[in-house]
């Protein structure tokens, strides 16, 4: 199936070369970081995790969201997702590889990562996060390969793949739960230490993931003959609407507990995010943009008139995706670390190097996903 990656028109190749050049720039920036150390990033002794780990967190969600197409199709026999499950699984593959790369570039001693498997600390969520991410990657590679090969040969997929597919469903939930456990078990960080972290992660995932799939479907319609159909897209929009609503609800619950109890070491992080704290307000514009986008997206997704209008729906999907990215991929991790345990409010701004490396990883994900999608479309003769 992979042979189909290398056949394609001019536009396809232009796109792939464009992505490759960003990957190249990212690699150069990484070599510099590798040489000098993580001091070339905006991180420091207080904001010890920042842009890289935030992206890991966000894209684990995107990866997990494949379950939102796999589950309806395989468990509820929702036939209209038939064309789209493979897109979800390939998106998951690309997203997991991005996550692993983000973890890798965040390591101070990247060549020693093997130590994590030679001497695993079984109480460390980071160990389990890597294990579950790798398992999820393998599951999705196996499933998509077997199912697509069967489709190519015009036969039914082998029986043994069913239990593998069923396994991937709770597994998807587990990867994001374990990612939440990275944070929510730390007594040192009151902002993260919330039992609702895992459900909130899942809600954001199941909103941002399907939103991204909607965007991808619209793009595929433009650049190819592939069309998943109106119904499938509407279904994705409804899923995103429910999940986005759950996300906003969970966020409101976080606000309530923090502000009703009035506990300063809980509220101060919300202050940092939404009004600024001790003169530090770099995250405030992001959080309010995220809030406004969330409101717009909810309106578009819930109101049937706007949802059913695919032009408007496209904007809604972009709004969902960006809103959650700003919240989870920018605010959440940094705000948990500021103020630091000694009560100092420190600032963090990503450096150009950090952003270039991240752009390289985004491009890597896009390249993998484009190549995989290309192979499906060729097999289905819909280019």
């Amino acid at each position: 199936m992979l042979d189909k990656i290398f056949t394609g028109g001019k536009k396809y190749w232009a796109w792939m070369i464009f992505l490759s050049s960003i990957i190249g720039a990212g690699t150069l920036a990484y070599l510099h970081q590798y040489e000098v150390g993580l001091g070339v990033t905006g991180m420091g002794r207080d904001v010890t995790w920042a842009f890289y780990i935030s992206q890991l967190t966000f894209f684990v969600g995107v990866a997990a969201s494949a379950v939102m197409v796999v589950l309806p199709y395989y468990l509820h026999d929702y036939k209209k997702f038939g064309k789209i499950t493979i897109l979800g699984e390939f998106l998951a593959i690309g997203a997991v590889i991005m996550c692993m790369t983000f973890v890798f570039v965040d390591m101070g001693q990247p060549l020693r990562v093997v130590n994590m498997f030679l001497h695993p600390q079984l109480t460390s969520p980071m160990f389990w996060d890597s294990v579950s991410l790798m398992g999820y990657l393998v599951l999705n590679i196996v499933i998509s390969r077997v199912v697509l090969n069967a489709e190519r040969n015009g036969v039914k997929p082998p029986k043994w793949i069913k239990p593998v597919i069923y396994t991937s469903i709770p597994w998807a939930v587990s990867i994001h739960t374990v990612t939440a456990f990275l944070y929510c078990g730390l007594a040192a960080r009151p902002f993260w230490m919330s039992a609702i972290m895992a459900p909130r992660f899942l809600a954001t995932a199941f909103a941002a993931g399907p939103a991204l799939l909607i965007i991808i479907c619209f793009v595929l319609r433009k650049v190819s003959k592939f069309d998943v159909g109106k119904d499938a897209i509407q279904k994705l929009a409804v899923i995103a609407a429910y999940a986005m609503f759950a996300n906003i609800f969970f966020l409101a619950l976080e606000f309530f507990t923090a502000y009703y109890s009035g506990m300063h070491h809980h509220t101060q992080h919300f202050q940092l995010l939404y009004v600024g704290l001790e003169g530090n307000s770099s995250l405030v514009p992001w959080m309010w943009t995220s809030t406004v986008l969330a409101a717009i997206s909810l309106y578009i997704l819930i109101n049937p008139n706007t949802r059913k209008n695919e032009k408007i729906l496209g904007f809604g999907a972009i709004a969902v995706f960006l809103s959650i990215w700003m919240d989870k991929g920018m605010g959440l991790i940094i705000a948990g670390l500021v103020p630091n345990p000694l009560g100092y409010v420190v600032d963090y701004t990503p450096t150009l190097i950090e952003l270039t490396i991240s752009a390289g990883i985004f491009a890597l994900g896009a390249l993998i996903i484009s190549a995989l999608y290309k192979s499906v479309l060729t097999i289905r003769r819909q280019v």
Binding site: T48, G108, Q109, P110, N115, A188, P341, V346
Partner: protein, 255 residues
Amino acid sequence: MKRRDFITATALAAAFGLAGKPVYNVLASKDALASKTGKRLAMVIDLKKFEGNSEMMNKCVDACHSMHNVPDIEGAKEEVKWIWPEPFEHAFLEQNNQFIPENIQNNPILIMCNHCDNPPCVGVCPPKATWKRAEDGVVMMDWHRCIGCRYCMAACPYGSRSFNWRDPRPKIKNITANFPTRSKGVVEKCTFCDERIVKGLEPACVVASKMYEPEAMVFGDLNDDKSNIRKILSENYSIRRKPELSTQPEVYYLI
């Protein structure tokens, strides 16, 4: 009951029994107190004795940092420190009452790794590069195993850990030959001078403080009921940093 069902039921019950015990232990655990076997090394810092004596405080810091090849890096962002002075309002931010005596408000406090009995930094470390030593409770570091993920820094509630954001060696003023230097990309912190403890010596900071005051810093074994540190703790009320987090810090402050 059919024979097969009976076997299944027995197996299930046995499995539950096996899993049940550890689960029960976790649920029933109280605040993890230090093991009663072996040593339980701890430190007492008498704030009164440091008052107005910033020279003594600096000497303690210098003794530690020069002996352990701690780089001298400017700026808060990439600073590396094992022991350092911090104002009361930051060292004890939860206990910073409004009208505290001036001497407490105006005199900085030495802080360092607390060698917690229940150290959150240890449980999170993916390659077990930091661990609590069973025989004396020192929270150790292996700088050759650390992968630099900085999870321990997120987990430590005291800001006790530093990361080498760049190669620290050019920033070390005089390299102490018999102590390792660190490479970039690893975490480091106070180890209660484990290299001195094995030789029966006291930590460098304690020795430095003794040049000025005999009992400004007292180091000892809390499991030894005849130790000086036990005597001091039972005769004076002490406070610890963030005791409410159940980490059981082993550095005690006399105010």
